[in-house]
Structures are given as structure tokens and as C-alpha cells.
């Protein structure tokens, strides 16, 4: 399921010496994925752009702190995710930790709607109305579950890489991913089921 993106290797020594060409290469290779994660975490283009800029400014300022034990992409994802979560927390009326947010999750993954909508054509599943609903449904996930889902299923990171970005256990990644997937399935079933019933003779 993981997508594998291969990049030209970036000269880490050149990055540490603040070589502009090496840094431009880093930005060129990773800006797309950082923008996508920020956009889907925050659901707002202006916020996504702010997080994108903040992520690369922090990366530029802290490149000496990157020890090379993880991939550069993992390090960048960690900065972007932390910045996004901080923005979400700042906007809440009261401060909540990612774990407190997780606890708010009702923990229910019991499916309530059993209607098979797989038969709908891909054109309908991915038209602009459906995509708008998919974005809303992702926004309804708790931020703790949403970030795991985005890193695993949208960005294609492995369970281990996701655990590394979020600094949580692999078993916590699996539990949050299961809950996110089941909640999204339930939500999308509610959205697509009327279309299936409408098409039935």
C-alpha cells in the first residue's frame, strides 16, 4: 500500500553549511508532501501555506540538529505535524494534548451502516462533490487519528515511519489507524448509500 517516492540524494554536509542549492533541492523535493499534510490536517489553504513556510524556516534554522538517524522526509513531517497540532491547540478554547484529544474519541469502530457502495463508478466516487465530502470527513476525525491516517494512507509511510514521526508506539499507530479508517468508512457509507439506493431498480 505504501507509495515509494525516490529522490536524488541531498548532500547533508552542504545542507549543514547552508548551501542554497542543496536547500532549494530539499524544498523542491518535499514541499508538495508537506503542503498536502498541512492542508489535510488544517483544512484551510492559508493555514497550510503558513505551516509550509514555518516548517522549512525551522528546518533551515535547525539543520545542525538533524543527526541523519531518520530520513529527511521523516524529520520534515515531524516538524510540520507538530506545527499543525500546535496551531490546532492554540485555536481551541482550552488546551488539550494529543492524548487528551485521543481520549475524546468514543473508541467505537462498530459499523452501523452495512450498505455496499463499492459498485458505484470511480467517476462518481471521486467527483468534486464526493471529494469535498471526503475532505470534510477527514476533518471530522480527531487530530490524533487524523494525523496517523494521513501519514499512513495518504502519504504512504510505513507503520514504523509513522511511529517515528509521531514518537508513539507502532501498536498505537495501528489502533489509531483502525479507528480512523472505520470512522471514515462509516461516514462515506452515509454519503454514498443514498446514491446506491437511488440507482437500484
Amino acid at each position: 500500500m505504501s507509495k515509494t517516492t525516490t529522490y536524488d540524494p541531498i548532500d547533508l554536509d552542504a545542507l549543514r553549511q547552508r548551501d542554497k542549492q542543496a536547500f532549494a533541492q530539499l524544498v523542491d523535493q518535499h514541499s508538495d508532501q508537506i503542503y498536502r499534510v498541512a492542508l489535510k490536517m488544517l483544512g484551510n489553504e492559508q493555514d497550510a501555506e503558513d505551516i509550509l513556510q514555518e516548517t522549512f524556516i525551522k528546518a533551515l534554522n535547525n539543520i545542525e540538529g538533524f543527526e541523519g538517524r531518520s530520513k529527511l522526509s521523516t524529520w520534515l513531517y515531524r516538524i510540520a505535524v507538530n506545527e499543525s497540532l500546535m496551531l490546532i491547540r492554540r485555536r481551541k478554547a482550552h488546551l488539550t494534548s494529543i492524548d487528551a484529544d485521543y481520549e475524546k474519541d468514543d473508541g467505537s469502530s462498530e459499523p452501523r451502516q452495512i450498505i455496499d457502495w463499492c459498485c458505484l463508478p470511480e467517476k462518481e466516487l471521486l467527483n468534486s462533490e464526493s471529494r469535498h465530502h471526503i475532505h470534510e470527513a477527514i476533518g471530522e476525525l480527531s487530530s490524533a487519528n487524523r494525523v496517523v491516517f494521513l501519514l499512513r494512507d495518504v502519504e504512504g509511510l510505513s507503520t514504523r515511519e509513522t511511529a517515528e514521526v509521531l514518537e508513539i508506539s507502532e501498536s498505537a499507530v495501528k489502533v489509531r489507524l483502525m479507528r480512523a479508517r472505520m470512522q471514515l468508512r462509516e461516514d462515506l457509507t452515509g454519503f454514498f448509500a443514498p446514491k446506491v439506493l437511488r440507482e437500484e431498480p
Binding site: 542549492q21 536547500f23 523542491d28 514541499s31 492542508l39 501555506e49 509550509l52 513556510q53 494512507d153 504512504g156
Partner: protein
């Protein structure tokens, strides 16, 4: 591995995410597959769960950084876009 009891629907459903990712041992996979053969409810949940993941992945692949956002990022960082 021999299970002392057959898994019921909630137990099967709680393992579908790991099943999709290929994270379960072979005996458990066989048990899930045998259950799915005779349980249309769990089968529909599996199919719609896989479809959910698929369409979100396809949607994600269509999301790219807009060129003006990219340009402003390079300007903010005082980098040249032709410099990579």
C-alpha cells in the same frame, strides 16, 4: 496456532485494518477469510473499508502545492527556484 473459539463479527471487524495491511499471521488470515465466506455483513465492511482507503489515496494524489504558494515559499526562504 489453534484458536479455542471461532472469532465473532466484532472480533473479525476489529482486525480488518491489520488484515488489509498484511499484519496478521497466516492462521488468523485463514480464519478471517473463512468467516468472510459466510458473513455478508463483514464482507461488505471489508470491501467498503478497502474502497474508502483507495478513494482517499486517489484524492490525496490529486492534491498538489499550487504554483503561487510554491513561488512564495522560495521567495520567503530567499531561494532560487531554478537552483535545484
Amino acid at each position: 496456532m489453534t484458536h479455542e473459539h471461532y472469532l465473532d463479527c466484532p472480533e473479525i471487524l476489529s482486525r480488518l485494518s491489520d488484515y488489509i495491511d498484511g499484519d496478521l499471521d497466516q492462521d488468523l488470515c485463514y480464519e478471517i477469510e473463512a468467516h468472510l465466506e459466510g458473513c455478508s455483513k463483514c464482507k461488505i465492511v471489508l470491501n467498503t473499508l478497502q474502497k474508502t482507503i483507495h478513494i482517499v489515496q486517489v484524492d490525496g494524489q490529486k492534491t498538489h502545492i499550487p504554483s503561487d504558494v510554491r513561488q512564495r515559499l522560495f521567495e520567503q526562504l530567499d531561494l532560487d527556484q531554478d537552483d535545484q
